[in-house]
């Protein structure tokens, strides 16, 4: 309707008349350069202040609602069953259930720490291209071999909580290579880089092991259902 818009003001020197022609099929847009900088004070500092306030308020509310646990005085002669480490170590304690202590307590944590430290120095992590956005056949074959090896190891030690997420993620990785994969899914999954797949696998395994350790383990480290037997 109003293809032509006229802006007017009383003071012609202050607000000169501008004429803008806007085509109906192409709405007006302003190109915004987000590389532009802003002064840290106040733009970043104000936002940080808001973050600080939100954190303190949130923590205070949680502290008013929930009390920190306190059990009876430490008694070396009375071992609780199960004796659990703090939640962030329960993934490791869950592994201790499957592997000998030197593997679960020393070898695997050391491998995790070393693996995380070297991330920026390993080339696959510097490559942002998706797994299927470049020649992928050899990568997928190599990946299949590695998964088969790890899978065999996990089966021999009966580590089902690691085997299941490993196989699920492996299925997602090779899905775009299969002929029946829908094109939209193929495009979406194909964009994910190999390094992201590996990290996602690690996070999934760590989260599942920790959740099992926190919720699903009872006396003698047996499997329990938290809604039936409660949380130990």
């Amino acid at each position: 309707m109003n293809d032509l818009c006229l802006e007017s003001a009383d003071d012609a020197r202050r607000v000169p008349v501008r004429v803008a022609l806007v085509r109906r099929d192409a709405p007006a847009r302003l190109l915004e350069n987000r590389e532009e900088t802003e002064p840290t004070a106040p733009h970043l500092l104000v936002r940080e202040l808001i973050v600080v306030q939100l954190c303190v308020v949130f923590l205070a509310v949680v502290s008013l609602l929930f009390d920190a646990p306190l059990e009876g005085i430490a008694d070396p002669t009375n071992t609780p069953n199960p004796a659990k480490a703090p939640w962030y170590f329960l993934g490791l304690q869950e592994l201790l259930h499957y592997f000998p202590p030197v593997v679960a307590g020393v070898l695997l944590p050391a491998l995790v720490v070393i693996g995380i430290v070297v991330i920026p120095y390993v080339r696959i992590n510097l490559d942002a291209a998706g797994l299927y956005e470049r020649p992928w056949k050899r990568t997928v074959v190599a990946l299949t071999a590695v998964v088969a090896l790890i899978g065999a190891l996990l089966v021999s030690y009966r580590v089902w909580p690691v085997l299941v997420p490993t196989l699920v993620l492996y299925a997602l990785v090779i899905l775009p290579a299969l002929p029946f994969c829908p094109p939209a899914l193929k495009l979406r999954l194909g964009r994910v880089s190999l390094s992201n797949w590996i990290m996602t696998w690690f996070v999934a395994v760590a989260a599942i092991l920790t959740l099992i350790g926190v919720l699903f383990r009872g006396p003698g480290w047996t499997w329990i259902w938290p809604w039936r037997e409660g949380i130990y």
Partner: protein
């Protein structure tokens, strides 16, 4: 009379803050550059890095939690003796005698759990945004060390209430250290000051928790933030795709 002008327009104020308070761009930059605490920030930041989805402010949340934990931790130290069985009695004092003692302990406990989680999420954010790429490789390594120090801080603090939860949680963990071939038993002996989790272990964990590890974390965070500035500010989601320009409707 303008109270702001009265406060700032004199020699005493100018001896503390050298630049004026007028909202010019020069003063805004000076405010950051001339301040010991603020100068860990760059004087200017990219507009896109101010967006929440760029960093989720997880680093800022982590630092905030560290400050909250330091303040509540120092207050808790006023009521705490690292000895057996006084340590546990002090927990009961906090519960029944000290005003707001329970609230203080809750803040410290939940804050510590939150910090472990937030520091881990911060690491994931940096990974998925590929913000560890050159020249930021070494700052990633510093970050991993900070994550480990955070875990150790939380773990050493776990023993201090000296209740069953603390004692057996730490017993399970330190038994894992023993499994390390060769060095393990010796390391565990030095960590506990003996062969069992006892009075010496409590004192050692206390010193680690209140002096050594917070000092290490403070130093590490200073290096971490300083390197962020030297490497050209935070790498938000920019590492992912080249979306530096977008249109606004």
């Amino acid at each position: 009379m303008d109270p702001v002008k009265t406060l700032t327009d004199n020699r005493v104020w100018r001896s503390i803050v050298r630049h004026g308070i007028r909202g010019t761009n020069r003063n805004r930059v000076m405010l950051v550059m001339e301040n010991l605490f603020l100068h860990l920030h760059p004087a200017k930041v990219r507009r896109r890095n101010l967006e929440v989805s760029s960093t989720y402010y997880l680093g800022a949340v982590g630092v905030t939690l560290f400050v909250v934990l330091t303040v509540t931790g120092v207050l808790l130290m006023l009521y705490y003796h690292p000895s057996v069985p006084q340590a546990y009695d002090d927990m009961k004092e906090l519960q029944f005698v000290v005003g707001n003692g329970v609230f203080l302990r809750n803040m410290h406990r939940w804050g510590a759990h939150a910090m472990v989680l937030v520091v881990f999420l911060h690491m994931l954010r940096v990974f998925y945004h590929k913000a560890y790429r050159p020249p930021r490789e070494f700052n990633w390594v510093v970050g991993v060390v900070l994550l480990l120090v955070t875990l150790l801080l939380s773990y050493t603090g776990y023993l201090l209430p000296w209740d069953q939860l603390a004692f057996w949680g730490v017993s399970v963990g330190t038994n894992m250290v023993k499994a390390m071939p060769g060095l393990g038993p010796t390391l565990r002996f030095y960590l506990l000051g003996g062969h069992i989790v006892g009075e010496n272990a409590l004192l050692r964990f206390y010193v680690l928790h209140c002096v050594v590890l917070p000092g290490a974390l403070l130093l590490g965070v200073a290096v971490h933030l300083w390197r962020v500035r030297k490497d050209g500010g935070v790498a938000g989601s920019s590492g992912l795709r080249r979306t530096s320009r977008r249109t606004k409707p």
